[in-house]
């Protein structure tokens, strides 16, 4: 059952102190935009106390304030002990330890173990594999028929990529997207994961599967795949099973949903702006600057959360030790003081990488260049094959204020 959103609540007339931009339903029907516009104008650092799902929290909605929080990891903690990185507080015993939800020094030690997966040499090796697979997926698509782009392309390509990063049995790869979806599912959405117990069951299966892979890799020579890196890494080889699980979920979700939704978003945005699609067809060189623009415009993770560990002043507001602070990337990416004409999708911006979608500071996305690489190759291969990919129906979106995503995008490739 969906938790109720007050239908009478209006972004511009609700008293500021009752404004709550966080409800997942608003992200599903895309009615959240005016809430953020109002907050950026009237209360850029805003305290909300009326959320039925998430309790009291601060919203940071302007680009420069978000950056200030990002680089201040000393006062704004990511640690799961304080509540972690998402607006939802999970029960303490269900929180998974993972380095995205740790502070230094443990965060730094563990991050360094997996960082080589995106070293320039490794990316160069992955490039050929991605291109070949993208080509094969695109060649298998139907012509003159309506199909769901998310299912056939976005999910398939990202899952194949993940399987490669883990050196995971290829035929079982859809398990990865299943685990990813279970990890991010919002119980109130009424899907397969309708309780934390159900989620824990799935996690147990995931851990059992990966423990077998760990055992194989730990007894073999180190190799450049993520499991081997974790099994041999100084800072990770003695992790508890639960910490292994946590870091796996981080890598699965990190590399999956986000890239998937950027792949879907790109097709949608080009269809919404035919002029930009025409520009792209005339000059495929614009893929380079279009890719970061897609990632900005989609903002696949709508927010990251921090917890203040001491009293701190931000944007003229006094945040108290223990307060939950939500950095709304999706709002900062539409802040006209930081980005020119932010409401528009423009594929040839001068500084397209100036966006918040990957975060900044010590937790900045490990996979940011890898995600860009996947999108770049995919679009090169699309342009080589298809005159157009036409969106022929309304997109359906995810019920979540964390994952900003698309579940269905009906498209047709003219025969």
């Amino acid at each position: 059952m969906n938790a109720p959103v007050n239908p009478a609540s209006d972004a511009w007339t609700t008293p500021l102190d009752q404004l709550d931009p966080s409800h997942p339903a608003r992200f599903q029907d895309h009615s959240m935009w005016p809430y953020f516009e109002r907050l950026r104008r009237e209360a850029p650092v805003h305290h909300s106390t009326t959320s039925p799902l998430f309790g009291p929290y601060w919203s940071v909605t302007k680009y420069k304030d978000i950056m200030a929080v990002e680089v201040n990891h000393r006062q704004f903690s990511s640690d799961s002990g304080h509540g972690g990185i998402s607006i939802r507080d999970r029960p303490k015993d269900l929180r998974l330890p993972m380095f995205i939800a740790m502070d230094p020094p443990r965060h730094d030690e563990q991050r360094k173990v997996v960082q080589p997966i995106v070293a320039p040499g490794n990316l160069a090796k992955l490039e050929g594999i991605i291109r070949e697979r993208a080509g094969r997926i695109l060649d298998g698509l139907p012509r003159g028929e309506t199909f769901n782009w998310v299912e056939h392309v976005s999910i398939e390509l990202t899952v194949q990529m993940l399987a490669t990063l883990f050196d995971f049995p290829f035929e079982d790869r859809r398990k990865l997207s299943f685990w990813s979806d279970c990890a991010t599912a919002v119980p109130e959405a009424g899907g397969f994961i309708d309780s934390e117990e159900k989620r824990e069951q799935v996690f147990a299966e995931c851990l059992a599967y990966f423990t077998e892979l760990w055992n194989q890799r730990v007894n073999a020579e180190p190799r450049p795949d993520l499991i081997s890196m974790l099994a041999h890494g100084e800072a990770t080889r003695t992790m508890s099973p639960r910490e292994y699980l946590g870091n796996l979920i981080l890598l699965i979700v990190g590399g999956n949903d986000t890239t998937r939704n950027s792949i879907s978003g790109g097709v949608l945005f080009l269809n919404q702006t035919p002029g930009e699609y025409a520009k792209l067809r005339a000059n495929p060189g614009l893929i380079e600057s279009m890719v970061p623009e897609i990632i900005r415009y989609q903002t696949p993770l709508a927010h990251m959360r921090r917890t203040a560990v001491e009293d701190v002043e931000l944007g003229g507001q006094r945040i108290r030790a223990g307060d939950k602070v939500v950095m709304w990337y999706i709002s900062g990416n539409r802040d006209p003081e930081a980005i020119e004409e932010p409401e528009r999708f423009i594929i040839d911006r001068k500084r397209p990488r100036q966006h918040l979608s990957f975060g900044f500071g010590i937790h900045r996305c490990v996979g940011n260049r890898l995600a860009e690489l996947q999108l770049k190759i995919l679009w090169e291969e699309i342009l080589r094959r298809f005159e157009r990919v036409e969106v022929v129906g309304e997109p359906k979106r995810v019920f979540s204020s964390f994952i900003h995503g698309i579940t269905d995008l009906p498209v047709r490739i003219p025969a």
Partner: protein, 106 residues
């Protein structure tokens, strides 16, 4: 104005005159030197303006600060003479500075 020489990974050199007070990152970005991405625009928050400072200049550019050192520690291509060029400010003493660019920024 003091000058900086940027040497791309493939050996291409760029000599750029830089106003005092500007960062070495700015000099590259404003003059279109390829290989410095500077995603965060100079906040020491992304490590995509990574350079190797020529050994002869290390004493003059000084050591990375704490935030800079953590950001650099995550770069797979980091070496002992690595710096983030947004954190090196031009002064007359740095006239002639030579920096080399890594294979890629990430």
């Amino acid at each position: 104005m003091p000058q900086v020489t940027y040497i791309e990974h493939d050996g291409t050199e760029h000599r750029i005159a830089l106003e005092e007070g500007l960062s070495v990152m700015r000099g590259a970005v404003d003059n279109g030197v390829p290989g410095i991405d500077a995603d965060c625009g100079g906040e020491c928050a992304c490590a995509t303006c990574h350079v190797y400072v020529d050994e002869a200049w290390l004493a003059k550019t000084g050591a990375p600060g704490e935030q800079e050192a953590s950001m650099l520690s995550f770069a797979a291509t980091a070496q002992p003479n690595s710096r983030l060029s947004c954190q090196i400010t031009m002064t007359p003493a740095l006239d002639g500075l030579v920096v080399r660019l890594p294979e890629a920024q990430h």
